[in-house]
């Protein structure tokens, strides 16, 4: 019985660390959770997953903006690293909605749109590996193959660079990997028609639509 108040206090500390965008406090609270011996999967949900979802909702309502969303995600990542290590050591596993590699395609240096999608996916329970900008087709695939990835997300801001999204899909096919990944495309000039033309699995007009689309498909790669 004595563990209950302690557990709630730890959850509160974890939640506040996310709400205050504080990575150090998040790490500290996560370590307290590990040291106290409480159920760490419950800690993930109550301490981190719930608050980060709320942050995503506040971002959606434009009550907070990209910097806060990124700082909140960073704080969660810092604490999650501590919890994940302990859970894995104990033979457990944290369930993620899916693992994504995301990047802006070759020849395109535009970062912000892709960064927003990455932050919002993370806030909504996806594990995200952000490859940055000017990512060649082969690097998307190497990154996906070297991690336990289900989704390859490609951003392009220019009419002229969006055809590199086609190259990623085509190269996946050439390597016999096309069915292994959900290929998601987005960016200002990209349309549903373009996604269909190149054989991508999904098109998202913006970050919110990306989350909705993947949430709707997640049963396909659920473990």
């Amino acid at each position: 019985m004595a563990a209950e108040p302690n557990k709630q206090a730890i959850f509160t500390a974890m939640r506040e660390a996310i709400e205050n965008y504080d990575s150090d406090a998040s790490t500290e609270a996560a370590q307290q959770a590990v040291d106290s011996g409480i159920d760490l999967l419950e800690a993930v949900e109550e301490g981190f997953a719930g608050p980060i979802r709320k942050l995503g909702e506040a971002f959606d309502r434009m009550e907070i903006f990209l910097p806060q969303l990124m700082l909140g995600s960073d704080a969660m990542k810092a604490g999650m690293a501590v919890l994940e290590e302990a859970i894995t050591a104990g033979g457990g596993k944290i369930l993620s909605k899916g693992t994504v590699v995301i990047g802006t395609v070759e020849g395109d240096i535009h970062d912000i749109g892709k960064t927003v999608v990455a932050a919002l996916l993370q806030a909504n329970g996806y594990t995200v590996h952000d490859l940055g900008v000017e990512v060649p087709a082969s690097r998307f695939i190497e990154a996906a193959e070297s991690r336990n990835v289900q989704i390859i997300a490609m951003s392009a801001l220019l009419s002229t660079t969006m055809l590199y999204q086609r190259d990623v899909v085509e190269l996946l096919g050439n390597k016999g990997l096309r069915e292994k990944y959900f290929a998601l495309v987005g960016g200002a000039p990209v349309t549903q028609a373009w996604a269909e033309e190149i054989g991508a699995d999904g098109y998202a007009r913006g970050p919110y639509e990306a989350v909705q689309l993947l949430d709707g498909k997640k049963e396909a790669w659920a473990e």
Binding site: F65, G107, I109, D111, I112, T160, T161, L163, P189, R205
Partner: protein
């Protein structure tokens, strides 16, 4: 500070990661400066009427640029600037700029808040995808609109011979040359051979292939560069800039601050926007184009963007001689009533706030040639009419216009419009009767709302 010094600092300035530049140098400083200078949005104002806040926004922006510098994305170095260097660049920013040739030569100029002089109008396909087949005709149709001062971005040649064009490929060089040739041909056919063409052929270095004094874009044609959000430049832009500065072209420098991004909400992003105006001038920009992006709406006539356009332009108009112009992108598309209501709302805001005008264009054109020269005429007429209004008068009309489209901003739901070849008779290059009727109806409606159209 000359371009050589800027380029040198791009190679020798402090080394950092892009994320650190954006979060620590931009976001963190914007948060502080928003409070220090009390820059805020009340959640309802469409056109700012507070001159003191516009002046504070200018001070905040100057301080932001001083604290942040400009990030060179490829070298990952910060081009740091001193207060003296910033002020010197502003002192030498031209208040007037000639462009074009012969009888078609014109001058763009700095405007004041509520300036009674008509705004300079940049209009054309505005980089919408243009088909090879209709490229010359649709540009000719824009060029024959006499209220358009400079043909703007004659359209992306996305495909040649059915083949999509990769930006750094030989095909892209060929596309850039055809862009130059066909744009020149279009203004010739319209009887304005010296009309300035504000150009940006493809987003790559081989874009400079469109340059040729006989058949292509000339040293008297403004050449467009785009800063990357926020306060960043890349090697391709800097290399094009080096070439076009040396070639002697007027430099049209655009930037696209993101509302909801690293600058935060509309007030914070207005500070970033004004800092970008100043950064553009420091880099060599002579006409500076603001094209705010929005994290949700992805267009420029929502209430956040209207407020930002007003405040940022007023800050610039009141505190510098910068020749400013404002981009107009809408949810509604050409051929729809909503298109005109949206661009009119923003034109009334921008023009009364001291800006010239660039546009209009749908934020998400559907397919090729989703443009209307006739709607560009209406845009120019509304912009001209707006120069006879005070901000308070414009604000009343903008509020009425905004009410008509505020619930239809979603790009997927917004009217699809029609392509140029459906809106125009391609033999005569005149609007179809239906499109002409739409124009007459909208003009009457705008007049009834209080826009003083001739």
């Amino acid at each position: 500070m000359n371009f050589k010094e800027i380029a040198k600092r791009g190679e020798t300035g402090p080394l950092t990661e892009a994320n650190d530049f954006l979060m620590k140098r931009v976001s963190a400083n914007v948060l502080k400066l928003e409070k220090k200078y009390q820059i805020s949005w009340d959640g309802k104002t469409l056109i700012n009427l507070d001159d003191e806040m516009a002046d504070r926004c200018w001070q905040a922006a100057r301080e932001l640029l001083l604290a942040s510098g400009i990030f060179s994305m490829n070298s990952k170095r910060i081009i740091e600037l001193s207060a003296e260097e910033i002020d010197e660049a502003l002192r030498f920013a031209p208040a007037e700029l000639p462009m074009g040739q012969g009888k078609d030569a014109v001058r763009a100029y700095h405007r004041q808040v509520e300036d009674p002089r008509r705004p300079f109008v940049f209009s054309g396909p505005f980089n919408a995808d243009a088909s090879e087949e209709h490229f010359v005709k649709l540009n000719e149709a824009f060029a024959q609109e006499r209220l358009i001062d400079s043909l703007l971005f004659p359209g992306y040649l996305k495909k040649l011979d059915g083949q999509m064009i990769r930006p750094t490929s030989a095909l892209a060089s060929r596309a850039a040359m055809l862009y130059g040739q066909w744009s020149r041909e279009a203004v010739r056919r319209a009887g304005r051979p010296g009309m300035p063409i504000t150009g940006h052929a493809v987003m790559a270095l081989n874009e400079i292939a469109c340059t040729n004094e006989q058949w292509g874009l000339r040293s008297t044609d403004p050449r467009a560069m785009v800063l990357i959000s926020e306060l960043q430049v890349d090697d391709v832009t800097m290399t094009r800039l080096a070439y076009y500065l040396a070639y002697g072209c007027p430099i049209y420098m655009a930037f696209t601050p993101l509302i909801g991004g690293y600058g935060g909400g509309p007030a914070g992003t207005a500070i970033v926007a004004v800092a970008s105006f100043i950064a553009a001038v420091v880099l060599g920009g002579e006409i500076v184009h603001i094209g705010p992006q929005h994290i949700k709406f992805k267009q420029q006539t929502n209430m956040h963007s209207l407020f930002l356009a007003g405040l940022a332009n007023q800050a610039v108009a009141r505190n510098s001689s910068i020749i400013a112009t404002t981009s107009h992108t809408t949810s509604g598309r050409p051929g729809s009533e909503q298109y005109a209501r949206e661009f009119s709302a923003l034109a009334l805001t921008a023009v009364t706030s001291g800006s010239n005008v660039t546009g209009p264009r749908p934020a998400e054109p559907l397919g090729f040639n989703n443009v209307s020269p006739l709607m560009a005429r209406l845009f120019a007429e509304v912009s001209q009419a707006a120069s006879g209004l005070k901000r308070s008068q414009a604000a009343e009309i903008v509020a009425r216009l905004y009410d008509t489209y505020k619930d239809k901003l979603d790009l997927e739901q917004a009217p699809k419009g029609q392509a140029f070849e459906e809106l125009y008779d391609l033999q005569t290059l005149r609007p179809t009767a239906e499109h002409q009727a739409l124009y007459e109806k909208l003009k009457e409606e705008l007049g009834n709302l209080g826009v003083p159209l001739a």
